[in-house]
Every structure is written in C-alpha cells, then in structure tokens.
C-alpha cells in the first residue's frame, strides 16, 4: 500500500511516497504559487516520477506551513510530528531532530521509544534559518549553494550579529567594506545562524543522536558550525529536504482515522 506525504514549506513544496517499508520516491520544488496549486503540481510530479496513478495511493497526508490549504489531502499533521516520524525512520537512534527550513527552525526532542516529547521553535525572527544564509549570499554575491563550501575554506570567522537578520545585514556590508575575506564573512554568517539554532537544541537538552534535516542541512558550512558550537556530532541523512514529507507519508500509514476534532 502506498502513502504520500506533502510538506508545504515557506519556500518549497516537498512530496514523498512511502510503501510501508521504504521511501519509493520524492520530489522537491521551489515554488511561488499558492499552496494548493503548488502541492498539486508537486504531487503530480511525484506520481509521474514513480510511474503510478492517483488511485494507487491509499492516503495523502499534508504538513508544513500551508498544510491546511492542501485541498486533496486526507488529513494533516504538524511539521514537528512529521519531522520526528521521518527522522526516526531514517535513524532509529535519533533522540533530537533539528529541522532548519527557509523561514523556520524547529528542534524536536523524542522519547527513547521515538514519540515526540517536546519541541522548540524559533520565534518571529529569521536569524537561524535558511533565509538568513540566503540573505548573506546575496550581499556576498555568492550563489547560495557555494556559501557552505566557501565558509569551510575560511581561517577563523568574522563576527556577525545573530540577534537580528536585519542588523546582520548591515554588519555584513560593513565587513565587506573593511576588506574581510568573503570566506571569513561566510563562516561568520554560518556561526551566527548556528548560535540561534544551538540555543534551541540546548533547550531540548543536547540529547544524542542528533539528526539534522531540512533544506539548510544540505549546507556543509552550517552543519560544521552547528557541530562545533553544540559540541556534539550531528547526523545528516542523504536527502534532508524531504524528511518531513516522508514523515507525513509515514504518519498517513499509521493513521487509521482522523481524531474527531471539534466542529469549529
């Protein structure tokens, strides 16, 4: 039996297909369309890629910021729960899940049995998220994919403020004028973002194994900065972007029926 999970994020829509044993396919598309249309398009891509029809899918489960707008989903769950499900399936020893998306950062604490025990979110500030690093890339005139490798080449790091993405922007510009190397500034940006994220991991108690997921997990510079600052190793799965979508698909496979919610 096949289950699909769709994760409508702030910047991209991810979809994954789960057959009860393994992930049989996944898609990730950056989108500027409204959530429902984007989700439809990504879902169609997923089915086409795997070569199956809609009726072959038992259940479609939505998650992420735009989950409520996915009109064709059979149900929805929070991204925290789906992240926990997906991460745990990929790494059965996982106790802490760090999910860094474009606009949000979440850290989930799991019980030894793998259920969600607690979570911490970034509040209304984008520092400590993917868009913070993207913003830095714009000012450094570096493609965002190169930010990580660039920072790894740096010796030390420039001081960049972590309190506010807007303040950090002016710091980056003045560092450029001061003649700092781009590599050191890039390293500073990653450390600034990591400071915020480590704060959240700390609130959840630094319990190993820690797994890093979300789009920003593909950035080796951020992963390194996080490991250094947290002082514990982080595991990054192969395709970290689709873990939450995979979790949604797993959630669909677990849910027999939706819990009766109040008629509101």
């Amino acid at each position: 039996m096949l289950y699909a999970g769709i994760d409508v994020g702030a910047q991209s829509v991810k979809a994954a297909l789960f057959d009860g044993q393994k992930m049989v396919g996944s898609v990730c598309t950056v989108t500027e369309e409204a959530a429902d249309e984007a989700a439809r398009a990504v879902y169609a891509d997923l089915l086409q890629g795997v070569g199956i029809q809609r009726q072959d899918v038992e259940k479609v489960w939505a998650t992420g910021w735009g989950a409520a707008d996915v009109s064709f989903a059979d149900g929805k769950s929070s991204e925290q729960l789906c992240a926990a499900r997906g991460a745990r399936w990929l790494l059965p020893a996982a106790r802490t899940v760090v999910d860094i998306g474009a606009e949000g950062c979440r850290v989930m604490k799991l019980t030894p049995e793998g259920t969600l025990e607690d979570f911490a979110n970034n509040s209304k500030c984008a520092s400590g998220t993917g868009s913070f690093i993207e913003l830095g890339a714009v000012y450094l005139k570096v493609p965002v994919e190169e930010m990580g490798p660039l920072s790894l080449a740096a010796e030390g790091a420039a001081e960049v403020s972590s309190t506010c993405a807007v303040f950090a922007e002016s710091v980056i510009i003045s560092k450029i004028h001061e003649g700092e190397t781009r590599a050191r500034i890039a390293a500073g940006i990653h450390r600034a973002a990591a400071t915020r994220i480590v704060e959240l991991i700390g609130r959840m108690g630094f319990i190993e194994d820690i797994i890093l997921i979300g789009g920003a997990a593909m950035n080796p510079g951020l992963a390194k900065a996080l490991e250094e600052m947290a002082g514990v190793p982080l595991r990054v799965p192969e395709n970290p972007r689709v873990v939450v979508a995979l979790g949604a698909a797993i959630q669909a496979s677990l849910k027999r029926s939706r819990r009766g919610k109040s008629a509101s």
Partner: protein, 389 residues
C-alpha cells in the same frame, strides 16, 4: 453564549458607557487584580478593569520605552487617545513594575474630566488614586499596614465624592463580591467534567464581563445562565485538557482560546488575572470589612515582580492543585514579551510541571496583537498533537 456577556466581551467601552448613561452612576477604571475594588463598589461606583487596544501605539510610545510591557503601553495609549473619557477616576495599585508607573503616566498624560482641587499644594480630589500595596506581602505588620492604606484610600474617595462610605456599605460590597465569586467558582467547577461544561472561550467571556459589570448584576445573570446550562446538559467540544497561564488576557488576545479549541484542545482552567485570580479568593465576612478586603488582596497569588520571594510558593500551589482537580493534560504559557513577573517564574513552574506532574508545557511569546496570536496556531496544533500521541 449569553448575549450580555458576549456584548461586554465584544465592545466593552460601549457596554460600560451604556450602563453609565442608564444608571447615572460613576465608573472608575483600575489596573490589576490586587485592586481593592470592593471599596469602590461600596461607594456605589462601578469598577472596570482597564485594558488596551492591540492597535499600533499612537501617543504612548513617546513616553514609555519600547522594551516594556505592550499591554501596559497599550492601556496608556487608549487613555491618552480619550477612549476612557467616561471614567470618573482611576485606581492604580503598586503591583508589577510597569503598572505602578502607570500612576505617574496616567496622572500626567491622560486628560481628566474634573479640575484638581488644590489645597496647600495637595489635590484633595485626585483623579488617579494610588494604592501603596506593600512590597512584602507576608509578615505580622503587613495586614495592619495595608488596612491603614485602604483606610486612607477610602477617605480619599469620600472627599472626592462628597459622601461617606460606612461599614454597612463595605459589608454590602463584601457580600456582593462573595456572591459573584461563588457563581464564578461554580462555573469553573462545571469545567472539571470531561468534556467541560463550558468552553474556555465562554468562560473567558464570562470572566471578562465580570470585570466590567456590577458584581450583583453579574452574579444574578451568571446564576441564571449556569442553571440553564446545567438543566440542558450543555457541554463544550471535547479536547485535550489545557491549563492556560499568562499575562493580561483581554479582548486583544483572547482568540488564543479559540485557536486552542480549533487545534483539538480545550482550556479548562488558568491562573490568569482575567481568570481565576479575579475571583478565586473569597472575602471573610466574619472580619471587619476593610480587613477582609485587605486580606483578599494580599492573598491573591499574583506574579508581580516586586514580591519579596522571587517565586512565591502560592503560585506553584495553585498550579499543582488545579492540575490535579481539573485533570490537566498540557499547560500553555502565553506570556507577553517584557512581562518580567511572568517570565521570571516561568522556568521554575515549567520544570516543576514536567518533573513532578509529567505535564508537557508549551511556551508562547505574545506581542499583544491579534495577528501575533494567529501566528501561534501551528505551534498550538503541534503541541496538542504531541499530547494526543
């Protein structure tokens, strides 16, 4: 929902103005659940709690620093904009650090309807009354000291109003307050069942209107309404049983109750000042009325930042008892930014809840706007889903 409670919750200013016009009586505004409002009631005055607007500040930001409580700033802004022009006086107790500053701000910045009556440099008919609530609320000297403070306040009122407030007036007020408190307790009792007898939002509307209506009238309407609910077996939508803790919960952020309900939860009790703290502590009718009022005010478990013990034991005791009596499954702390009193006690209460009762806790940082409340939705959903397992 009873239409009177809903009317007060939806447009408090219009409702109070209408009452004032119909009765021709005086209305005083006050801050904080520590206020000895019973004395106002005894003087035939309607005490109404001052709340803010949640709108961007228009005037207060010139006077109050931005890194202070958004609720207090918004209240002052509403006053400066003339939204409280129907008040005949304002009472401000020495409660948290920002509220006690409101005495100065309100006196100097908010237009008053009456002229000061200056005698030898002293305004003998003040518009803003200050209650010097003691810093230290325990110890032998506290009650006699505070009774003295209340006596002075009573005399100030008598001078301002050209009338006397007798012990009979005070006893009448104490009894009216107790009647309303017992109906409010009864309303909370009904929420102990599963599903609760009333939803969190309904309970909030009833509590909020109790801070804006004369207590005898409120008690009467509430009694009738609860009788009706009981006889037709009314139940709130089922949900994970939530304890709500936090800062001032007024019409700006009360949507949090609806968001919790829509996410599959139901608020069944709280420790809010627009909540249990406004009625939980009955007045002892055996005591001289002023002493009974003083003891009620001193006994109110408020997290104001100026208390001597950083985390008073009574805050935890209330939480512990409520968690057990109301079968709490999760606690949501919805605390406004810069609410020092709340933020100071939060880590302590959170850790005790988790370790002693194994109750999960969600912390939400409010900014006193309704959009800010809406942004909490996804975290509330995730929290309730986490408890559902």
């Amino acid at each position: 929902m009873h239409e009177i409670f809903a009317r007060y919750a939806e447009n408090r200013h219009e409702a109070v103005k209408k009452w004032k016009q119909e009765t021709g009586k005086k209305v005083f505004g006050y801050f904080c659940c520590l206020t000895p409002e019973e004395i106002l009631y005894a003087a035939d005055i309607l005490p109404v709690r001052i709340t803010g607007t949640g709108e961007p500040l228009q005037q207060a930001d010139l006077h109050v620093p931005p890194n202070s409580c958004a609720f207090a700033r918004s209240c002052l802004d509403a006053g400066m904009r003339g939204m409280y022009d129907y008040l005949d006086g304002v009472v401000i107790p020495n409660s948290c650090d920002i509220i006690f500053n409101m005495e100065f701000f309100w006196r100097t910045l908010v237009p008053r309807p009456t002229k000061p009556a200056m005698i030898a440099g002293v305004d003998i008919k003040p518009y803003v009354h200050y209650i010097n609530y003691p810093e230290k609320i325990t110890g032998r000297e506290v009650v006699p000291y505070y009774v003295e403070v209340l006596k002075n306040f009573k005399q100030d009122l008598e001078r301002s109003l050209n009338r006397s407030i007798t012990d009979d007036d005070l006893a009448r007020a104490v009894s009216a307050y107790n009647q309303d408190k017992s109906q409010m307790k009864r309303m909370y009792e009904m929420r102990k069942s599963d599903p609760a007898g009333l939803s969190g939002y309904e309970a909030w509307q009833i509590t909020y209107s109790s801070l804006l209506m004369p207590k005898d009238k409120h008690a009467g309407i509430l009694k009738g309404y609860l009788d009706e609910l009981e006889s037709n077996g009314h139940k709130a939508p089922e949900g994970i049983r939530i304890y709500l803790s936090g800062s001032a919960m007024d019409q700006v952020n009360a949507d949090i109750y609806k968001i919790i309900e829509e996410s599959g939860g139901q608020v069944v009790s709280d420790d809010l000042c627009v909540g249990t703290r406004s009625f939980w502590y009955p007045l002892n009718e055996e005591l001289p009325p002023l002493e009974a009022i003083a003891r009620r005010s001193l006994g109110t478990a408020c997290p104001r930042s100026t208390v001597t013990a950083r985390i008073p034991e009574n805050r935890w005791t209330h939480l512990l008892n409520t968690a057990k009596d109301f079968n709490i499954e999760g606690a949501i702390f919805y605390v406004l930014k810069c609410c020092d009193a709340r933020l100071g006690e939060f880590p302590h209460l959170r850790d005790k809840l988790k370790t002693e009762l194994d109750i999960p806790v969600l912390f939400l940082e409010g900014d006193y706007t309704s959009e800010g409340v809406e942004q909490m939705r996804s975290r509330v959903e995730a929290f309730i889903e986490m408890i559902e397992g």
